[in-house]
Amino acid sequence: MKKKMAALSCGMLLVATALFAAPQIGEKAPDFTLTDTEGRSHSLADFRGKHVVLEWINHGCPFVKKHYDSGNMQALQKRFTDEGVVWLAINTSKSGEQGNMSPEEWKKASAEKKAAHTSVLLDPDGKVGRAYEAKVTPHMFIIDPEGTLIYNGAIDSIRSADRADVEKAENYVVKALTASKEGRPIERAVTQPYGCAVKY
């Protein structure tokens, strides 16, 4: 009987885990290990003690272009990496899909765009994308120095591919990072992300 109960609660636990698989705000962010465009391996756990920004990226997507052609993304990367934030751009495009590039092509694209992220990480099998339920490019996540997920959502408040909207929009990543660094609560920790579907 006891065994049966244990099996049952184990089953229920599994169901519960499946239902709440999406990373939750205030809980430990899913750990991962990925290789960057230089062939170096990075784990999220390596960056304990620092804020980490995850930016889902695909340079073919018009919404990503909006933030790179306007210089917005690079300016954010520069500003926050200068302040000690780790900024990881993650590409989850499957082989053959838009945005999947060789490490050499990535290095060239990052140089051309004057990107100022810490690293570009390659996730062609989509494992990390699925763990975070990354839906679009750009989909943004922020993890605090303790490894807790503190933001999941859009880069800003105007859902468009028009770069003229960048200036008018409220930038949720800036607000969340600034609040967390100053020890204030984050007003909007979850927002509806916008962009092109991640090319799983």
Binding site: Q192, G195, V198, K199, Y200
Partner: protein
């Protein structure tokens, strides 16, 4: 003289960004020499009558395999926009959106979209007196069209209509078909084909639907800006009881008890009927 492949490369880049006018009022968004979207502003009459409402439609025709988006696009994409400049004294409704389709993309990404073609309609109310014997309407539409990849498109629109004592119906078949695919409001009165009620259950909302036993339901939400929802899911339907659509609330006010959206029923004959759910 540039070689042929060079020209093609240049042209495809240019064509992804510009829109070529081809024929009367029809505008094509081209990509790599192929029309992805043809956009056209049309009316259900050639002649408008002062004081008598008529309907304008943005007719979008997508290349095979490509889609544009509904009022709420789902996990990715963005809704088609239509801004109209009407003569003074004219009023217009918001876009009336025909029923969308749910498309499921790799990675369990759900989008609410239109394939092939859609007519986004706006009802227009002219004033009782109109100067001159014709009016001109100008507008602007922007959209995102996606297949495996996404491309933004858009165009300026223009339409001239005569003013007279009698309407001259036009594009009737197209407008009738589109009207037939609009959802109808649910007023919570007896005798309506379905009755709905809401329950907030912790981290999710449940929409109970009482209607014919053999209908299948799907809910297309129109969340407020501050609300983030998971994918609506039709839970098992016990025989003779209400069907329940469960909608996870990922983020939203504690006080959220209902949602706006469109409930789509697929009847036993495979017909799709839509009902507007007005969450309060």
């Amino acid at each position: 003289v540039p070689s042929f492949p060079d020209m093609r490369g240049i042209l495809s880049k240019v064509c992804a960004l510009i829109f070529l006018v081809s024929g009367a009022g029809v505008v094509a968004q081209e990509h790599q020499g192929r029309a992805l979207v043809n956009a056209d502003l049309i009316a259900d009459t050639e002649t408008i009558v002062p004081g008598r409402p008529f309907t304008l439609g943005l007719h979008l025709r997508m290349a095979e395999g490509w889609h544009t988006y509904w009022a709420f696009p789902g996990d990715s994409g963005f809704p088609t926009t239509l801004e109209l400049e009407l003569p003074e004294g004219f009023r217009a409704t918001e876009i009336q959106w025909p029923l969308p389709r749910r498309l499921v993309e790799p990675g369990d990404i759900h989008v609410y979209a239109y394939k092939e073609e859609v007519l986004l309609m706006v009802r227009v109310f002219p004033p009782l007196e109109i100067e001159g014997n014709e009016i001109s309407i100008r507008g602007r539409s922007d959209w995102l069209v996606c297949e495996q990849i996404c491309l933004p498109g858009g165009t300026d629109l223009a339409l001239t209509l005569k003013v007279g004592p009698q309407a001259e119906p036009k594009n009737q078949e197209l407008f009738q078909r589109a009207l037939g695919s609009l959802p109808t409001p649910l007023r919570g009165r007896a005798g309506e084909p379905v009755q709905v009620s809401w329950v907030r259950d912790g981290k999710s909302l449940q929409l109970a639907v009482e209607g014919p036993n053999d209908w299948r339901y799907e809910f297309f939400p129109l969340p407020e800006e501050t609300t983030v929802l998971g994918h609506p899911e039709l839970t098992a339907v016990p025989r003779g009881k209400a069907a329940v659509v469960r909608i996870p609330v990922v983020e939203g006010p504690e006080t959220l008890r209902q949602l706006k959206g469109v409930l789509v029923a697929e009847t036993a004959d495979g017909e799709r009927r839509g009902f507007i759910v007005t969450g309060r």
